[in-house]
Amino acid sequence: MNKVVANSNKAIEGIKDGMTLMLGGFGLCGIPENCIGSLVKKRITNLTCISNNAGVDDFGLGLLLQQRQIKKMISSYVGENDEFERQMLNGELEVDLIPQGSLAERCRAGGAGIPAFFTPAGFGTEVAEGKEIREFNGKPHILESALTADFAIVKAWKGDPFGNLIFKGTARNFNPVMAMAGKITIAEVEELVEPGELDPNQIHTPGIFVQRIFQGVDYEKRIEQRTVRSKN
């Protein structure tokens, strides 16, 4: 059971124009920097990207937007990105906005073989348009469907050749649920360890959800809002 590939160029083999990708991360935290770099380099286009955010102008998914590689974004929040705004207002980019909790649950459902579920989020708003409404316990809910992707690309802190993953801090976010929902799931990790090094009791994503893994290089891990206090 050895799922190790050499690098991000190898890892993204098979991703083709027009495919649907899931990309982990919240803001710029926990995004698969190496694979995004390879997608930029290979100029794969016409992509549908499922990602909570769309990066900033010159980092994260913003890099794919710059090159017009993305046809459609499925996200919950897409601010902080001028190029995104320009493409969207010009009708060059389709955007499907989804409540953040529904986005997370729809990914998990996709990975867990649950084709649809009811949630109260979005009832009475434009999010509910065209969706089935049903009352439970006197409260209206809307039926949301599962999301899956041709490839899910996630970023973890540590991983092993079995594909077992451990995330760090809030860089976990959407990565575990998207790892579940990819037909093929690629994990890039900061540190690839030997089999047996990770404590079986402390693994966040069991390797069964991961098909390819590699140790990434040169992580920038850019901070979007650096808020600090002085030591005095």
């Binding site: 919240f26 803001g27 710029l28 935290c29 926990g30 909570n52 996200s75 919950s76 929040y77 897409v78 601010g79 705004e85 969207m88 207002l89 955007v95 906005l97 409540p99 953040q100 909790g101 529904s102 986005l103 997370a104 649950e105 990914c107 998990r108 949630t119 109260p120 989020a121 979005g122 009832f123 009475g124 708003t125 434009e126 999010v127 802190w157 995330f167 760090k168 801090g169 809030t170 860089a171 976990r172 976010n173 959407f174 990565n175 575990p176 649920v177 966040h204 891990k221 850019r222 901070i223 979007e224 809002q225 650096r226 808020t227 600090v228 206090r229 002085s230 030591k231």
Partner: protein, 238 residues
């Protein structure tokens, strides 16, 4: 094990100034009075975040950030910031003792499953039936609802922190929202620069005035149905 954990403020405290109506700090100080011991609280981006600075003495609450953490602490010291540790506003933060980290699905399980006792968020408009609009202005760039729709659809206890009127002086406390909704019939309490109002039975019920603000001033600034019963006390902020 019963020792109280130290809780440092999220931001530097700024001095509250009595201006005849409340500034942002006044609003969040008033909201902080609503906190109850043992509550888990989700604070929205912007003004609501400041509530964390004014936790009443002897009260222990935990802050949930929907990107995946409970037990959010102050901003890190300069030079100690960690790119892998941010809040839902993408600001670098720290963890308090007892903090936990989790994925986005678990985070919204907490929210949707009503394990969070209080949600504080901003709004562009609130209506007398409890509707809220805070995510979209047609014709302008749409940034997305983030976690707001999940929060307002599920929270049992939602307090909105907002200005009573817009920059043109038009009321944002309405009979009906004019902007696309974030959620329906969900807001229970509104704290503005002028007043504290409860929403029930399809109307705003005035319960407190900002220091130096008259009931008439509040009525004039309120487009929605405002019920005023008996003597309306001033907020006690300090």
């Amino acid at each position: 094990m019963k020792k109280e954990l130290s809780r440092e403020p999220f931001v530097q405290k700024t001095k509250y100034q009595n201006l005849g109506m409340l500034d942002k700090v006044g609003i969040v100080k008033r909201i902080a009075q609503e906190l109850q011991d043992g509550w888990y609280v989700n604070l929205g981006i912007g003004i609501p975040t400041l509530v964390a600075n004014y936790i009443p003495q002897g009260i222990s609450v935990e802050f949930q950030s929907e990107n995946g953490l409970l037990g959010m602490g102050a901003f890190p010291y300069d030079g100690e910031e960690d790119a892998d540790l941010i809040n839902a506003g993408k600001q670098t933060v720290t963890l308090l003792p007892g903090a936990t980290l989790f994925d986005s699905a678990t985070s919204f399980a907490m929210i949707r499953g009503q394990h969070v006792q209080l949600t504080v968020l901003g709004a562009m408009e609130v209506a007398e039936n409890g509707d809220i609009a805070n995510w979209k202005i047609p014709g302008r760039m749409v940034k997305g609802m983030g976690g707001a729709m999940d929060l307002v659809a599920s929270a049992e206890n939602i307090i909105v922190a907002m200005m009573h009127t817009n920059k043109k002086g038009e009321s944002k406390i309405l009979s009906n929202c004019t902007l696309p909704l974030t959620g329906v019939a969900c807001v229970k309490k509104v704290v503005t620069n002028l007043a504290v109002m409860e929403i029930k039975d399809g109307a705003f019920h005035l319960i407190e005035r900002a220091p130096g603000v008259s009931v008439e001033e509040i009525q004039n600034a309120t487009e929605g149905t405002l019920i005023v019963e008996g003597e309306i006390p001033e907020m006690q902020l300090d």
